[in-house]
Amino acid sequence: MRRDQNLALVSAVVSGAVIAFGLLLLLIGRVNPDAGQRMRGVLLDLVTPAWSVVRAPFDGVGRAIDWGGDYFGAVDRNRRLEGELAAAHAELQRAAADRLALVQLKRVARVRVPERTLIATVRIVSATSGSVVRTAMVSAGSSDGIKPGQPVIGAAGLIGRTLETGIGAARVLLLTDPASRVPVMVVRTGQSALAVGVNTPSLELQDRVGADVPLRVGDRLVTSGDGGVYPPGVPVGTIIRADGDPALVRPAATPVGAAFVNIEAAWLPLPAADTPATTLAPVPIEARRSGAKVPVAAPVIVPANP
């Protein structure tokens, strides 16, 4: 009886300690988000190859269904494509003239345009749908040159950015994750805004510059290149609800169809990590007047997608 009581007491204490430790871990994670990065990488390396084998037959079935659909819908699509092609030809001629003008203007103004660098073309192995965090796993990792914070671009548009890497696998933060914020531009009006994930199929358009100009359903959004991670001009989505606040955006590319994606280097190189230590604390006016050597707060460069 006494022993039972002691055991119950010990187990209660252990349970309490464990829960307290969990909360402590959360606080540590808040201060240092990179904690546990390596362990996650190891688990990624373990899980991804297994799923890439398991999903192979399902991919085969999916391709077969696609093929059947292609076969039966071919005539309709051909007619539609011919119509689109005629419109595209006209657009192309205008674009060629614009491109020529742009080249001349750039030569005059000596604009330096950063190059987009392809690092790897990989396939999306799996996207977790069992968690509040929306991520996908791809079958290439640090051994292929992939680092956290690189844009992931599918054939139809932007997919997301890399979050963590293992040796042979990496995790991609999808656009629909609540932590994802993509600087975009409305193509028709040229306004910049943020496409923010909310854990639903559509994104929200927030912080639009010039909110008094109305959006229209069907307005296309492309990346603006602000923040330096995503290269400009990559399709992000289409406005599907313009009147509400915030407007809703349907992503151009979903990881469902995007079997293969490109992982590129961050568009503009991020500032070096070993910048001199600075403080953001306000310096008293007296200290400045006295001529004491005070650390100067450097301009803080916030990455596009914190």
């Binding site: 349970s15 430790f21 540590i28 808040r30 988000p33 362990m39 398991v54 977790t128 854990n199 469902v256």
Partner: protein, 180 residues
């Protein structure tokens, strides 16, 4: 059980090995729950969190089937694995799973065993509570998520309870025999 075997020091290495390996059943609940967690990373390409919380259901079911083999500290360790598998801040699932195991343990100790449907209702309550807790803990970790989008997962998890119970019951019969 311990009393019936000779002291470890008197065993030959082979006997000692067999003695330790003979305890494999202790790891069964943890391994089944781990397998359920790995199943949750399956490539279900839907743009919302809709895949059922199989890991939490595993914790719940094993905490009712084998309370001694699913203590809160084990749930905590499984939650850490879940956090790393799903790229969540370390500690979100760990705390949630440990709290769930602790709740089930105290609930069962106080109110005893129940019919399947009652347990189903309790499991649904635990999952909904865990969703609320996850919402708060994600905010505490500095990565707030919207609450309403998690409703689908609560729904699918409630629907996934009977299959998980069936699976765990099958493992229970195979590994531990007919008891209770």
């Amino acid at each position: 059980m311990i009393g019936s075997v000779p002291p470890l020091r008197l065993m030959s290495p082979r006997e000692r090995r067999r003695y330790w390996i003979g305890h494999w059943r202790l790891a069964v609940p943890a391994l089944v729950t781990l397998a359920l967690l790995l199943l949750m990373t399956a490539p279900v390409l839907l743009p919302m969190p809709v895949f059922p919380q199989l890991g939490l259901l595993g914790i719940f079911v094993w905490a009712t089937f084998q309370p001694g083999l699913m203590p809160p500290w084990l749930a905590f360790l499984l939650g850490l694995v879940a956090d790393m598998l799903f790229a969540q801040p370390l500690g979100v699932n760990a705390t949630g799973f440990a709290v769930a195991a602790l709740f089930v343990r105290s609930f069962e100790a106080r109110y005893g065993h129940h019919a399947h449907r009652f347990d189903w209702a309790v499991a649904t309550g635990v999952i909904a509570g865990s969703a609320l807790l996850t919402w708060q803990l994600m905010a505490l970790a500095g990565r707030p998520v919207p609450l309403l989008a998690m409703g689908w997962q609560v729904l699918t998890s409630a629907l996934a309870y009977p299959p998980v119970v069936w699976l765990c019951g099958w493992v229970q019969r195979r590994a531990f025999g007919l008891r209770q």
